[in-house]
């Protein structure tokens, strides 16, 4: 397995919390431009895997490489974010007291130093970019409202919008359609497929209809390691997957 050409490369990663092995010898490879869906029961290590990739948790052992050569275990969250990994949390996490527009403003790709932020004047380019994203996530009408007032689904979309504003190379999207209506779910799948045209994406999701909608390669995690990998049909017919996750 060659690392070059991969956007994300995990090999033999393990991490334990007070004896509980949340991730156990996990290996996972994502090619540039690929979109991957990750499924698995609660406690399978999906969120912990994202924590490791984004620098929140340091693995006890194993290799984590980004973009073929960057060792992610040596960097913290902010550095990793600046390298081009964006993350959407399981529970939508937006800045509730800020307006929708300000949420996007703070996410816009660009300098992340204090003094430029202190003396920041909004530019035409930034305004245009925000307008574009607001269009994509369909929140243009609510741009000046505090994010706290948005519905659950709208917060999910705003967070995806924040990811877009960040313009990362790799997006980690944790349960993007939880709490969404069917129509919203369908829209989200379409949006993610659009994003995947130009970005590498990992989507964690429980909603099998949504995963089918995405139509991408699926990895099923169980007890901290890969149980099965392949097309959704392949994975969902795997005996062990049926046993631990889908149920008979």
């Amino acid at each position: 397995m060659s690392m070059s050409g991969t956007i994300l490369y995990l090999d033999g990663v393990s991490v334990a919390f007070d004896g509980f092995r949340a991730i156990n010898d996990l290996s996972l490879v994502l090619d540039r431009g690929e979109m991957r869906a990750i499924i698995g029961p609660n406690g399978a290590g999906k969120t912990t895997m994202m924590d490791i990739v984004t620098g929140k948790t340091r693995p006890d052992s194993g290799e984590v490489f980004f973009d073929g050569q960057i060792d992610l275990t040596r960097h913290d969250e902010a550095e990793i974010a600046m390298m081009g990994i964006g993350r959407k949390f399981q529970k939508p996490t937006v800045f509730e007291n800020h307006t929708v527009e300000d949420n996007l403003l703070l996410s816009l790709k660009g300098q992340r130093s204090i003094f430029p932020a202190l003396f920041y004047r909004s530019s035409a380019a930034d305004r245009r970019r925000i307008d574009d994203i607001l269009g994509v996530i369909r929140l243009g009408a609510r741009r000046n409202e505090p994010a706290a007032g948005l519905s659950h689904g709208q917060k999910q979309w705003l967070e995806i919008g924040m990811l877009l504003a960040q313009d990362p190379k790799l997006l980690l999207v944790d349960e993007p359609v939880a709490g969404m209506t069917d129509a919203e779910t369908f829209e989200t799948a379409r949006l993610l497929k659009d994003i995947a045209e130009t970005h590498s994406v990992i989507v964690v999701e429980h909603d099998m209809h949504f995963v089918r909608e995405l139509g991408v390669k699926v990895t099923c995690l169980h007890e901290g390691s890969v149980l099965s990998e392949g097309t959704l049909d392949f994975v969902s017919s795997d005996e062990r997957v049926v046993e631990v996750y889908l149920g008979r």
């Binding site: 919390f17 007070d18 969120t47 924590d51």
Partner: protein, 539 residues
């Protein structure tokens, strides 16, 4: 001079062994006393003192100690010498020889026999010799230690005689050591001196060290080397005792810190809130002790030795009850807002302080110690006071009881469950509000009984708790939450560290250093020594 002193000792020893002889010389003593009335300067007084001592009479001891204490008076009218006891404007006089009362006198009618420091020293020296023959072993012991500190080769015969006649083993050993010190300053042979060095080396304290160092400086050759070896040996052992003493003081301070902090650790661990009024719970415990003792003094003075045992449950109930009221009345409305809880409990602390100040007044209250907590005992070169020892033992008992509650009871199980994952515990059917209330009451109650113990070593005032609160925080922060052993190790480490820094940096600077170290430490381990890990904690 030296001869005279030696003679005094010899006579003293003889007198002690032959008490019947002593009374024969009362007339001589009276004559000396009248000389005391006519002295005009300190030299003269000193010579009378020496002559008095030379008589070797046991009664001389009373005269000399009265003189040293400034209680010896001359009546102007007849130049009679008396010991006097001040009683308002008059003095009640008594005969200096046999102690019988001799009426009173107005202050204007008598003069004090003046003494200065040099004279007092002389008196102490000659009395050291006199008291070798005392019937009281503790007096003999102190005489021996005086003679060790100021060795005198002419005292050797007296010491030899005293050793031969001594029956008390401790006193005998002390006398032998005093003799060894005297040998070192005498002209005796090398073998004797070598033996003396060994005796002193065996004693091994700072007095022995002083004698040996002086001897080493004054002598040459093989003896000096032997002495040097013994000096080194004593220094090593003294350094070890010094370490032992620091550790003991550290454990003692650590116990105090643990007592003050452990209730805080429980509430912080389980509820994630800092109770700024925790110090006031300790204060309430101390005041409960005071009230209980007042009641006992008034109604059942015989029970005084039991006052602390009675105060313990009372303090637990008072502080625990107030804690419960705070939790039910205030903290439960602030759940999930730890910083606001901190502020609100600070408000409670101000109110409790002022309430106690209004009721009991701002001054320190007298909390007495039962007889079994008074005094001290000697362990090697360590002096251990009973009160400290009891506090250490009490602290351990409280700690072990809490460990038991946490590990072996269903309440403890629930508390641990809530500590680790509140939401999960709630969904498993644990009534987290009850656990919170119980925990807070328990933590406050523990603070209350800590107050009972701490009232024994600190001034009980409305600010009592404030002195402990920051240290308690430091212990909790250092030890980590959710783990009683962390608190234990945190408290002991901080206590010992404090006491080891003190000799080098002084008490205040030592404390500052400890604070700075903790501030630096928490940068490395933001959640303390023993932190829970995992996603639930970070969430």
């Amino acid at each position: 001079m030296q001869f005279v002193r030696g003679l005094v000792l010899a006579i003293a020893v003889i007198c002690a062994s032959l008490p019947s002889l002593a009374h024969a010389d009362e007339a001589g003593l009276r004559a000396l006393l009248t000389r005391l009335a006519t002295t005009t300067n300190f030299q003269e007084t000193e010579s009378v003192v020496r002559d008095l001592a030379a008589t070797g009479e046991p009664a001389v001891e009373r005269i000399l100690s009265a003189l040293a204490d400034g209680n010896l008076y001359v009546r102007k009218s007849d130049q009679g010498v008396f010991t006097g006891k001040e009683d308002g404007q008059t003095l009640s006089l008594s005969d200096p020889l046999d102690g019988t009362a001799a009426g009173t006198a107005a202050k204007a009618d008598i003069v004090k026999v003046k003494v200065n420091n040099a004279l007092r020293r002389t008196i102490r020296d000659v009395m050291g010799g006199l008291t070798l023959g005392s019937a009281d072993p503790t007096v003999r012991l102190s005489a021996a230690s005086t003679m060790l500190k100021r060795p005198d080769k002419t005292a050797l015969p007296a010491l030899d005689a005293a050793i031969a006649g001594e029956t008390d083993a401790t006193v005998k050993a002390a006398l032998a050591q005093a003799r060894a010190a005297a040998v070192l300053v005498s002209d005796l042979g090398e073998a004797e001196k070598r033996a003396a060095i060994a005796v002193l080396a065996n004693r091994g304290d700072s007095d022995a060290l002083a004698q040996l160092t002086a001897f080493q400086a004054a002598s040459t050759g093989a003896l000096a080397e032997t002495a040097a070896r013994s000096v080194a040996q004593i220094e090593t052992s003294m350094a070890a005792w010094q370490v032992a003493q620091n550790v003991w003081y550290g454990i003692s301070l650590g116990s105090v810190l643990l007592l003050a902090a452990i209730g805080l650790a429980i509430t912080f661990g389980v509820m994630g809130v800092i109770n700024m009024a925790h110090g006031e719970m300790v204060m309430l415990g101390a005041y409960t002790t005071f009230v209980v003792q007042q009641a006992i003094r008034a109604f059942a003075p015989d029970l005084f030795d039991w006052s602390l045992a009675i105060a313990l449950p009372a303090a637990f109930l008072v502080a625990g009850g107030v804690g419960l009221a705070i939790e039910r009345g205030m903290i439960r409305f602030l759940y999930g807002r730890p910083l606001e809880t901190l502020l609100a409990t600070w408000g409670v602390s101000l109110i409790l302080q002022q309430a106690v100040r209004t009721i009991f007044g701002p001054t320190n209250q007298e909390v007495g110690a039962p007889s079994w907590m008074a005094g001290a005992f000697q362990l090697g070169q360590l002096t251990i006071t009973w009160s400290r020892l009891w506090i250490v033992l009490f602290c351990l008992a409280v700690f072990l009881l809490l460990v038991f509650i946490m590990k072996r009871t269903s309440w403890g199980l629930r508390m641990r469950a809530v500590t680790q994952n509140r939401r999960m515990a709630a969904s498993m059917g644990i009534r987290t509000p009850w656990v919170d209330a119980f925990t807070f009451a328990l933590g406050s109650g523990i603070a209350g009984i800590a107050g009972v113990a701490l009232s024994q070593i600190d001034n009980v005032s409305p600010n009592f708790g404030q002195g402990y609160i920051i240290d308690s925080f430091m212990v909790v922060v250092f030890g980590g939450v959710g783990n009683l052993w962390g608190t234990f190790i945190g408290a002991m480490t901080l206590g010992v560290l404090n006491k080891f820094l003190e000799p080098y940096a002084g008490a205040v600077l030592g404390k500052i250093l400890v604070l700075v170290l903790i501030i630096l430490f928490i940068q490395k381990r933001p959640r303390g020594l023993f932190a829970l890990k995992g996603r639930a904690v970070e969430a």
